[in-house]
């Protein structure tokens, strides 16, 4: 456990602070901004862990595309209330206890670390490790089939998002034809009765 890297300590501490800020912020926009900061710090972490290509991808995809999408939806839905009451009594204490167990177990296992590089010796990371050239080489030779499949997944998700969120302009009289929201809903036999 020697050799605590100061850069890693600072970035890691900031990442934890922004993550906690994200789940504690009352305003959803503040949450989203904490999340953008957190994803940026994760990109720096990837740089420290010799993954420069993933750092760039993280900034573009997560901090760029995904969080802009989240902010768009937050603004589309308008003002959100904070929802601080507790509908299920005792839920928070149960959740905190379970989280304590989960966190302790995860950190305990993570503290074991992983064995060093199987080739033995002190692991010296080659300079091209994780570079765009190395990643491209791996993606387009060894992993070319998953690469194509994942593009199909993205296409399906795009179509699905459009279909789900599409605004249907229903005619006004359709409401009467729908028994679930009809005015005389009391005549419909309830499944619990």
């Amino acid at each position: 456990m020697s050799g605590l890297d100061p850069a890693f300590l600072i970035v890691g501490a900031l990442a934890i602070v922004t993550a906690v800020g994200m789940i504690l912020a009352k305003n959803v926009v503040h949450s989203a901004l904490f999340m953008v900061a957190h994803f940026g710090l994760t990109a720096v972490l990837y740089l420290l862990l010799s993954a420069p290509f993933l750092a760039a991808a993280q900034l573009i995809v997560y901090a760029g595309a995904i969080m802009v999408l989240v902010l768009f939806v937050v603004m589309l839905l308008g003002r959100q209330e904070a929802l601080l009451d507790e509908p299920i009594v005792g839920q928070r204490w149960l959740a905190l206890a379970a989280l304590g167990v989960l966190g302790a177990a995860l950190v305990r296992v993570a503290a074991l670390g992983v064995p060093a590089a199987p080739e033995g010796g002190t692991a010296v990371v080659p300079p091209a490790f994780g570079s765009p050239a190395a990643m491209g080489d791996a993606l387009y030779t060894q992993w070319v089939l998953p690469f194509e499949v994942v593009s199909l997944v993205l296409l399906v998700a795009m179509i699905g998002a459009v279909v789900i969120a599409h605004f249907q302009r229903r005619p006004r009289n359709e409401k009467a034809g729908n028994p679930a929201i009809a005015a005389d809903a009391t005549e419909i036999p309830s499944p619990r009765a």
């Binding site: 991808a57 589309l76 998002a161």
Partner: protein, 106 residues
């Protein structure tokens, strides 16, 4: 290329990722706004990505980073569909409280 990375033992990124995963789980369990729950799920995904990158570096094998690349694209797809669901739910229920989405419970 980055000399700092050569001295970093693998256990510390793993512990950081474990902590971030727990924070994400706390967001899922404690918050009720559906957008914050979705972002907490993203936080948990991100923590697992950090684990994969750290192990990939410790083992000097690029496969972990390739896996993170795929996980990134799947996360993008998940967020797109998830946010579409949030918009659709908000339209039909008029709220973004996860406790209101209990109509599937029967």
């Amino acid at each position: 290329m980055i000399p700092l990375a050569a001295v970093l033992p693998p256990a510390q990124p793993l512990m950081l990722a474990a902590l971030l995963f727990t924070i994400g789980a706390a967001g899922v369990l404690l918050r009720r706004n559906i957008i914050i729950v979705l972002m907490s799920v993203e936080l948990m995904l991100n923590a697992v990505n950090i684990t994969l990158v750290a192990v990939s570096r410790a083992m000097l094998q690029l496969d972990g980073q390739v896996f993170v690349f795929f996980s990134l694209t799947i996360a993008a797809a998940e967020v797109a569909v998830g946010l579409a669901l949030v918009v659709a739910l908000h339209r039909s229920l008029g709220s973004s409280d996860v406790d209101d989405v209990s109509s599937l419970r029967g």
